[in-house]
Each structure stands twice: as structure tokens, then as C-alpha cells.
């Protein structure tokens, strides 16, 4: 893979060696028929890869993930231009449940566990598209990755800790046997230690279960540590992309787009203006 490339032809250059599992080609997304949010977003996720989608709050990361998973339509959003292909098949006209059956599951921002169901029942609902086959071994597989969930299996999901809820949301998605997991801000509101723990499990899942991951994060430092490739979004566009290490090492990128400097301090006037939203990046 090449280093950071300038805007226009970046998507072509970086596809590189691995075959693209997912490719998002120049999509435009409009909410409520008038609000233009994504203005030509393109990205690729290779088979078995971890790709980070970075950017400030409101950049369009969640919208991109929802366009892929089909959840956009429940929020009156629509992909009006471009195409999304998964294993070479167009999926941007599909319902969320068809997308899940194709092998893509989104873990939504804010976790969204079923609060009145127990932890185990939450996991079982994740197997809905599997029609009830192989649920026992699948449960054990999830408990293997998240032993804490096993301890909490009989608890109502609304009463377990934030970290456990995040694990549950990931475990629930895993029950659907995804080839690609869309993870939206798994670090949100969690202590750095816990974030580290969860990301390590995700990396193991990626290796051992061959689940590719598209990871939307404001916590760029952490995300780039686990991803091979990164895209940076700003204002509904992808403004650059490159190898994770290259992005992580490039002081200019960190300063201008990710609000980080080498030592993790805020600098320019924009950071002061957006103090609140930037603060979380540094955690």
C-alpha cells in the first residue's frame, strides 16, 4: 500500500493487493429530500481488513455506515447517487435485513442493546437471520471472546455497565455471522483501558473469525493503532486516506484533521472553538 495520496485518484491506488470486500463508490446521501450530507464518498474495505473512518463529530461517519447497512432509510435518508457494492453485488437498494443476510452488520453508535431483554436474549436476537441453527456453539463462541458477558448472561441488558453493553452490542452482531462489521464509535463514553480491551477483542475477531471491520471513530489514536488503513472525513467528504501508520505518523494530518499534535495537545484556533467536541479525541 502506498503512502498518503492526494485527493482525486486515492480510491484506485489504495485498493492494492487485497480484493475489495466492500466498495463504496462516490455516494451522495440526502436526508428528508433536502439535506445533503454526503457529497461523493468513496472507500474500500479489503477482505479481512480493518479500516478506520475518522473525522470530527458531524463529519458524516455514521451516515456513511448507515448508507452501507441500509439503516439510513429509517431516518428518512436516501442514497441518491453512486453505488455500494459488497462482494461485487450492489446493496444500496436493499433493506437492512437483506444486508445482514448478505453478511454486513452494523453496531450502532450508542450501543443500542435491548434493555429489557437479558444479556443472553440479546445475543439470541442477533441470531435471528440464522433461523435458529447453530445458536448454542455460536453463543459459546461469543462468550469465549467476551467472558464478561457469560457472567452477566441472566442480567437485564439495561443494567450492565457501559463497557459490557458495548461488548454485548458487538457480540450480538457477531451472532449474525457477519463478514463485515460496521462499528460506530465503540469507544464512546468508555474509559481508555476498556477501549483498549474492546479493540483488542475486535482485532482478535478480525484475525480468528475473518471478520472485516469498518471502524468509525473520533478516537483517532486508538483506531489507527488497530487499523491497517484509514480514511479521514470532513464535512461529508473524504479528505484523505492512507496507511494507518502513515496517518498516525503525519503531524500535519493529525493537527489539521484529527485535532491531535505529536504530544496530544490541541493547537489551532479551530480546536479552541470546538473545544468540547475535540476534547473527547484526546482521551
Amino acid at each position: 500500500m502506498s503512502a498518503v495520496s492526494a485527493a482525486p485518484d486515492r480510491t484506485d491506488t489504495r485498493a492494492g493487493t487485497a480484493r475489495a470486500l466492500l466498495s463504496v463508490n462516490n455516494i451522495e446521501v440526502i436526508y428528508d429530500h433536502v439535506i445533503l450530507v454526503l457529497k461523493g464518498v468513496s472507500l474500500k474495505v479489503p477482505e479481512g481488513g480493518i479500516v478506520a473512518l475518522l473525522g470530527a463529530n458531524g463529519a458524516g461517519k455514521s451516515t456513511t455506515l448507515k448508507a452501507i447497512s441500509g439503516l439510513l432509510r429509517t431516518e428518512r435518508g436516501d442514497v441518491t447517487k453512486g453505488a455500494i457494492e459488497f462482494r461485487g453485488e450492489p446493496i444500496h437498494r436493499r433493506n437492512p435485513n437483506e444486508v445482514v443476510r448478505h453478511g454486513i452488520v452494523q453496531v450502532m453508535e450508542g450501543r443500542h442493546v435491548f434493555e429489557h431483554l437479558t444479556v443472553e436474549e440479546n445475543l439470541l436476537t442477533g441470531a435471528y437471520t440464522q433461523g435458529g441453527a447453530r445458536t448454542k456453539p455460536d453463543l459459546e463462541m461469543v462468550y469465549g471472546y467476551f467472558p464478561r458477558l457469560k457472567d452477566r448472561r441472566g442480567f437485564r441488558a439495561g443494567y450492565v455497565s457501559g463497557g459490557e453493553q458495548q461488548m454485548l452490542a458487538i457480540g450480538r452482531a457477531l451472532m449474525a455471522h457477519p463478514r463485515l462489521m460496521l462499528l460506530d464509535e465503540p469507544s464512546m463514553g468508555l474509559a481508555p483501558m476498556l477501549v483498549q480491551e474492546i479493540f483488542e477483542i475486535v482485532a482478535r475477531l478480525n484475525r480468528e473469525e475473518n471478520v472485516a471491520v469498518l471502524l468509525a471513530e473520533q478516537n483517532a489514536t486508538m483506531a489507527l493503532r488497530f487499523a491497517q488503513h484509514g480514511y479521514v472525513m470532513e464535512n461529508g467528504r473524504i479528505v484523505l486516506d492512507g496507511d494507518a501508520t502513515t496517518i498516525a505518523d503525519n503531524e500535519d494530518i493529525k493537527e489539521f484533521y484529527l485535532g491531535l499534535t505529536g504530544v496530544g495537545q490541541r493547537k489551532s484556533y479551530r480546536d479552541v472553538k470546538h473545544y468540547k467536541r475535540r476534547k473527547r479525541w484526546l482521551s
Binding site: L71, F114, T125, Y128, G132, R156, G162, R172
Partner: protein, 311 residues
């Protein structure tokens, strides 16, 4: 002094001195209460899964009963007519999802509510058009007569209705707790976007809840119809379901059942033991006064689902 005695002492003395009669009144209350519970249950199922307050639930009871009687009048034996009625209610669920819910998805709740008002009038008219508007006798083969157990008169029809209702509730409970579809229904009720995100198809779920609500309506319609004839007033059962919902909480299945029983038993006991004091008709207003009291002092209802807030 004598008024206090008449209100607080005399009725209980009456109960104690004629225990068999008291039990009979109680059973009558349980029977009526179960009918209210069944109608309220239909409301709760639909409300939980789709957030729609289904104004037409009462008319669904009438429609189901009319369909059953109509089929029987045309010579279908009871079991065949029942199966066909179930099929009609399931077909109705599909039609409602396709023609009412799907076009209105993502609309305000009030719009969906108004759509169910439309549905109410449509079903009322459609039912009468198909099966006629006159009062019909519904004979399901269980005689409306009583037998004695330990000095208590028990009505066979009411007893079999109570058993059927209890079985239905038990089956529903198992369905919700233990099956894949039942879990999916509860998941949708909790967080429908999350349910979508793991591949639960909302449209299918809506068809299923409306079909289940339709089947519950059949049960209520058959029992009430067998007791007092199939007629327009059946749809007024829904008016009693509203106080039941206020008592039980709009999202609670156990609440709907217990709320119905409390109102059924309460109004029967009130009517028989306290009725003479106020010249009767307690049965007509008891439910609403009780509901009002609940609105004032416990608006979330008996079992109103607690909103989980983690600290």
C-alpha cells in the same frame, strides 16, 4: 353513622354470610374481566411492537365474531369456522401492514392513530356489509347453563371461556419468552432501530403482532358473543379496555391481564354489594373512576414498564 355502616360494614357482612353467592359474583367478575383483559392485550401487543395506538381493536373483536357467526350460518362446523376466521384475521393483518402501516412508516404517531380510526369505521362497515347488521346468536356447542360445585353455581360457558383465555395467555407468554419470533417481537418493542440493525424485518414483525392481536380478538369475540349475542355493542368492549390500559400500563402484558381482572371483579362486586346504596349502575362507571384515580396517583399504571436508567 348508619351510612358508614352501610358502606363499610354491611357489604362485608353480606359477603361473609352468603359465601357461595359471593364466589358466584366473583366468578362473574372474573369472566367479564377476562374479556376486558383480552381486548386490552390486543392493544398492548400492537402498541409495544409498533407504537401504534390501535383504535380499531374493539371493532376487530366484533369483526372476528361476525366472521365466525357468518361462516357458521353458512354451514361451517365450529372448528372449520374457527380456522377460517383465524385465516381471515391473519389476512387482515397482512392487508393492514401493506395498506396502512407501510405507506405511513416514519410518520407521527398521531397520524397512525388516525389511520386506525379510519380502519375502525372500515371494519365496522365491511363486517356488516358481509355478514349483516342484525344481532346473531353464537352457539359454540357449550351450553349457557350452570352446575353446582360445593354449593357454588358455576356457569359452563363462563368456565370454558375462562380456561380458554388462561390457556391463550399461557401460550402467548411461552411464545414471547421462549421462541425466536417472540424474542424478536420484544426486541422490536425495546428498540426498533437496533432490531433492524441485526436483521429483524420490521414488516414481518408487524404482520405477526397484528395477526396475534387478531387472534386474541377472536377469543374475546367468541366468548362475549356466545354469552350475549354477536352485535354492534361488542365493539364497545374497547371502551372498557381503555381504563384497563390505564390501570395496567400501556406496555405491560401482565398489567393488561391483571387490570382487566381488577376492573371486572371490582365492578361486579361494586354493583352487587354497593349498588343499592347509590341506586345501581356502578358497573357503568366504576372502571372510569378507578382509571381516573390511577391517572391522578399512579399514572404509569400497576406495571408500567420502568424506564431503565443506569447510574
Amino acid at each position: 353513622m348508619s351510612l358508614l355502616y352501610a358502606v363499610f360494614v354491611a357489604p362485608f357482612v353480606d359477603m361473609a354470610t352468603a359465601p357461595a353467592f359471593f364466589v358466584e359474583v366473583l366468578l362473574g367478575g372474573v369472566f367479564a374481566g377476562l374479556m376486558y383483559s383480552l381486548v386490552a392485550l390486543g392493544f398492548v401487543l400492537i402498541f409495544k411492537a409498533s407504537g401504534v395506538f390501535n383504535f380499531a381493536q374493539g371493532v376487530m373483536v366484533l369483526f372476528a365474531a361476525l366472521t365466525l357467526v357468518g361462516l357458521m350460518e353458512r354451514g361451517a362446523p365450529v372448528p372449520v369456522a374457527l380456522v377460517l376466521t383465524v385465516a381471515v384475521m391473519v389476512a387482515l393483518a397482512f392487508a393492514i401492514e401493506r395498506l396502512v402501516l407501510r405507506p405511513l412508516v416514519n410518520q407521527e404517531h398521531i397520524i397512525l392513530f388516525m389511520a386506525t380510526i379510519g380502519l375502525n369505521f372500515f371494519l365496522e362497515g365491511f363486517g356488516e356489509m358481509l355478514w349483516g347488521a342484525n344481532v346473531k346468536r353464537l352457539d359454540i356447542g357449550v351450553p349457557d347453563e350452570s352446575f353446582q360445585v360445593a354449593g357454588v353455581l358455576v356457569n359452563k360457558l363462563e368456565l370454558s371461556a375462562a380456561i380458554t383465555a388462561a390457556l391463550l395467555v399461557a401460550v402467548l407468554a411461552v411464545f414471547f419468552q421462549r421462541t425466536r419470533i417472540g424474542r424478536a417481537l420484544r426486541a422490536v418493542a425495546d428498540d426498533h432501530e437496533a432490531a433492524l440493525s441485526i436483521g429483524i424485518p420490521l414488516k414481518t414483525i408487524w404482520v405477526i403482532v397484528w395477526a396475534v392481536a387478531g387472534i386474541v380478538a377472536i377469543a374475546a369475540g367468541v366468548m362475549w358473543g356466545a354469552k350475549s349475542g354477536v352485535q354492534f355493542s361488542l365493539s364497545l368492549l374497547a371502551l372498557k379496555a381503555l381504563p384497563v390500559l390505564i390501570l395496567g400500563g400501556f406496555e405491560s402484558v401482565p398489567g393488561a391481564i391483571l387490570g382487566g381482572l381488577i376492573i371486572g371483579v371490582g365492578e361486579k362486586l361494586g354493583e352487587v354489594y354497593w349498588g343499592p346504596l347509590v341506586g345501581g349502575a356502578i358497573e357503568n362507571w366504576f372502571a372510569y373512576v378507578l382509571a381516573l384515580a390511577f391517572l391522578l396517583f399512579r399514572p404509569q399504571g400497576l406495571f408500567g414498564e420502568k424506564i431503565i436508567e443506569r447510574v
